[in-house]
């Protein structure tokens, strides 16, 4: 019964309520503590937040003035015992001028795990609770020190491993206009979801009007397909961003004994992987952080030799090594640049290289030929094309030139990639949280189509599309009932 607007009658409430943020809210009266820095460095920072932290004076004596720091002795005192735990630097941020908007004390002590453990135990004994993941940020939002959107971006910042500096600052400087673009796109999807559901619900609730039902269901199916298309595009933009946002990975690959490990050693300046003349000796992969000539950070990864990749010839004798090969292929999937090493004396590598290029089309390739000293370049019959001569090196004699060549090539390719990333600046970019939700939405949309195609009962469309609407609202942060707040913060690490 498409003639009637049925969308206003839907259950306005969702059956789903998550109570994570209730947990945060319940604990608002409690002081919380957590290690805010990593362990293992020289200094460990313990952060405490609460409405009234005066109880800490039992341990650290008087507080420094608000906004200032002071050296204090951190004491642990029980009935039986009273001893000095550590000499610490104490910083005092008075409410509301702190990260959480509550009183915050930061204690910087020595980064010795045992000391930090005792310090946290002492804080608990004094009445602190160990903070839940993201609880500090939750309090910041609760006390209007931070917006939810900002918290969500922050979470992405922490969650993206090896984020490049330019991408990181982009996330931090995320503007309102980006958000409104997503807002507009997703609001349209929500409207469309409602309309699709309207048509299906009409077919159910006006069962007597049999004439219009097939049309209603087909109309809904079309809409669902459109929504799915829009969402997969958004997800795709995200994939491109994250693929390019992190520090580039350069994977070294080539046929066994082409000279990969030697090249790695040349680039790193020290013996990182085992080099031997036995075919396939680099059993595992090796990862090194390097800087290009232009000062760009990148990761260089050495893999096991890639032998007969296209034939999957992995016999029992080489099982350890074949694991390495498998790993190498996986690494290629996450890499941006392939550093392909080939032996100038032979052309047999081309088949393998083409195989890789075909299966990883976005991978950019730097080709390096080894053993330049062992081929006669003057020989017209040599297999080496003239255009490739400049990428031919003797790994023994031309090490400086080789190093400079590779590091310059990385710069060139990276500059290209940065341009691509700039192009993305105007695209609607979703966060990781949003991306995860959108993937769930896509699953729900697929389930919906099953129902519309008659593979499942039609009545389930209501549940699936309500879930779609609901998750889309969550993506937009429109529904607290579903508690997206809890969801953002619970993904933070402790102490944030």
């Amino acid at each position: 019964m498409s003639e009637i607007n049925h969308t206003e009658n839907f259950a306005t409430k969702s059956a789903t309520v998550n109570s994570t943020s209730l947990n945060y809210i319940k604990r608002l009266g409690t002081p919380i503590a957590a290690l805010a820095s990593g362990l293992g460095g020289p200094v460990a920072i313990v952060r405490v937040s609460g409405k009234d932290l005066s109880f800490l004076k039992q341990s650290i004596g008087s507080f420094p003035k608000a906004g200032e720091h002071a050296l204090r002795k951190f004491r642990s005192s029980t009935l039986e015992n009273d001893f000095l735990l550590d000499e610490v630097l104490v910083l005092y941020f008075k409410a509301p001028h702190s990260f959480t908007g509550e009183d915050v004390i930061e204690i910087q002590g020595h980064g010795v795990p045992a000391l930090v453990d005792s310090m946290l135990a002492e804080l608990q004994r004094l009445g602190c609770e160990m903070a839940m993941a993201g609880e500090f940020s939750f309090r910041a939002v609760w006390n209007d020190k931070m917006s939810l959107e900002a918290a969500s971006r922050l979470q992405m910042l922490f969650a993206t491993e090896g984020l490049g500096a330019s991408s990181a600052s982009r996330l931090l400087s995320f503007t309102k206009s980006h958000d409104s673009k997503i807002q507009a796109l997703l609001s349209d999807c929500i409207q469309s979801t409602l309309k699709a559901r309207g048509r299906v619900e009409a077919a159910i609730d006006f069962a007597e009007a049999e004439e219009e039902q097939a049309e209603d269901i087909a109309g809904a199916s079309e809409r669902v397909a459109d929504i799915r298309h829009t969402l997969t595009q958004l997800i795709n933009t995200f994939e491109v961003f994250t693929q390019n946002a992190s520090i580039p990975q350069v994977v070294v690959a080539g046929l066994p004994n082409a000279g990969k490990s030697t090249l790695l050693n040349v680039l790193c300046g020290s013996e990182r992987s085992i080099v031997s003349a036995l075919e396939g000796t680099t059993r595992d992969y090796v990862e090194v952080s390097l800087k290009s000539l232009g000062g760009r950070n990148f990761k260089l990864i050495d893999t096991a030799g890639l032998r007969n990749l296209s034939e999957h010839s992995m016999d029992a004798h080489h099982s350890v090594e074949s694991l390495g090969i498998k790993k190498g292929l996986e690494l290629l999937g996450g890499a941006q640049i392939l550093l392909w090493v080939w032996d100038a004396r032979s052309q047999t590598h081309l088949e393998q290289l083409n195989f890789i290029k075909k299966s990883h089309p976005s991978l950019r390739v730097i080709e390096i030929g080894s053993h330049r000293d062992l081929v006669n370049l003057a020989d017209k019959n040599s297999d080496v094309a003239e255009s490739r001569v400049e990428s031919l090196f003797s790994f023994v004699h031309d090490q400086k030139k080789l190093r400079e060549f590779v590091l310059t090539q990385v710069d060139l390719l990276e500059a290209e990639r940065e341009l691509l990333l700039n192009d993305l600046n105007d695209e609607a970019l979703i966060s990781q949280r949003q991306r995860a939700l959108l993937s769930e939405v896509v699953v729900e949309l697929d389930q919906t189509q099953l129902c519309l195609n008659g593979m499942r009962p039609l009545e389930l469309v209501g549940d699936h599309l309500r879930e779609v609407e609901f998750k889309l609202r969550q993506v937009l942060g429109q529904d607290l009932g579903e508690d997206y707040i809890g969801e953002i913060f619970s993904q933070f690490c402790l102490g944030k």
Partner: protein, 619 residues
Amino acid sequence: MGTQSNFDAVVIGAGHAGVEASRALAARGFSTALITFDKKKVGAMSCNPAIGGVAKSHLVCEVDALGGMMGRVADMSAIQSRRLNLKKGPAVRSTRSQCDKDHYANTMSFLMSNVENLQLIEAEVAGFDWIDVGGSRKISQVRLKDGSILKTRSVVLTAGTFMRGLMFCGDERTRGGRVGDSAADSISESIEKTGHKLTRLKTGTPARLDSRSIDFSKLDTQWGDPEKRQFSWRPLEYRLPQLSCYLTYTNERTHDIIRANFHRTPLFSGEIQGVGPRYCPSVEDKIRRFPDRARHQIFLEPEGLSSNFVYPNGMSTSLPADVQLEFLRSIEGLERVELLRPGYAVEYDSFDPMELDHGFMSKYIEGLFTAGQINRTSGYEEAAAQGLWAGIQAGLWLQEKDFIFPDRSRSYMETLVDDLTSVGTLEPYRMFTSRSEYRLHLREDNAAERMFGLGSQLGLLGDDQMRSFDLAQQSLADSIVRLSSERIRIDENRVISLFEYLRRPEVCWEDLGVDWSDGVDDRVLERLEVKAKYEGYLSKQDLELKRLREAKEMELDLSISLRDTPGLSMEVIEKVEKYRPKTLLELSRISGVTPSALLTIAKKAGRKIGNVSRETLQS
């Protein structure tokens, strides 16, 4: 000079709501008066001659499982039954029964006049009064036109379309809530003194056709299902002979005639101001709103076994009688039709259900309950469900017990109550399956399972009903055991139980090849199938339910003014002040309350969440 008598409860109006309200009160031992203009019209079907339909049949089954009258009387009066939505899934399958109208009203009158503790009074109400007790106003009595006084502590008002009822047929105006009956204007006056704001609503009914003047031979026949499905779990006393309905359609000529007479309908002249039921629009409204539709479907429904009245479903109108005859005669099969009575629109007073609490008690007068069409709903089934709810709650109030909080996950009845009292409505509200977020759980087949606990706890159920429910439960349990122990070979290597087999989407209970000759009810088999197939979906909903209940924990302290709270819009503040939500959950259900507004209000007015006091919440 009238007499004076005492009742625990007085129910005003003996339509579908009043019947259920008074029965629920009487069944629990309260002396109850049921006042009606006409004792012969108890439970009268003022409009279409059918009970049930999608989502509505669910309401009927729920009412029945609480001991209500509607399902039982409809089963005894059914002259054609059909199951709708059979292929769309178990939760939306619905039953619709054409009823013999006179038989329905007669049976209802007879049964109601034999209910213990219930006195049926034929009279017109002049008004009701209240007294001030310790700062609150409490209902004290109902006055009748003959001067009699009924002293009472509770009144359930179920006046349908009768409060300031005004009927429109072209330019004719007639006072009254239904053709042949008068209006109840003095009740409206009493209500306005309470502070309730009354709003005009509109509904309509089509002309009634003389069956002898219809050429049925030209029309498609619509037969009922061979297996007649009951609403009630009570054993059926008897079954009436079955009739068929007929199908015909409007055409361009019909539409032209109606269009040419748009100026003669009070609906378009602005004279009728009340909002009408969107899902049951008058035919002139359909033509105007959907000018591109080439035709509209009409079901011709017989009104009874011994009646010449035929109800043309979908043709309600307020056009003048001559135009009605003209456009009807343009329709196939109706070329020589005669009208037994023209259609008309009726405008009436309604309450704002947001001025009621979840027990349907007035927020201004204690002991005053309202139910049915005056609460801005349409439909017999919606009215019955509300009447029952109001009757139950009025009883609890008389016992000085807390009202039952509507549980949306238990029934459509409670979904209806919750929607009306927490979100409100501006137009006549009709129930749909899509209104429930627990649709998969709220089915016809398990209505008894869902409601019996409440019914027996409240003492609403008779022994016969308890017995048939126990039998059904036993039969369900036995069937599960039987299907779990019998095995079927599905391929060379695998043998599984029939119950496992039933989980498959393509298998239904009819395919199991089990001999159910020991008389297992269809409804039990349907439940069995749902149990097998929807277990995953249902357990997911159960988990979500648990979480929802946790979220109800936070209470709001509304003695705190939200005025001048930074970041709160005036609109939100006004809504909160108007609807006074008691918990965070109720607050979240008010339309227009954004998550950030919710957070702001929770910060300011959150009383406690779990064991946290408001002091610690305030920052």
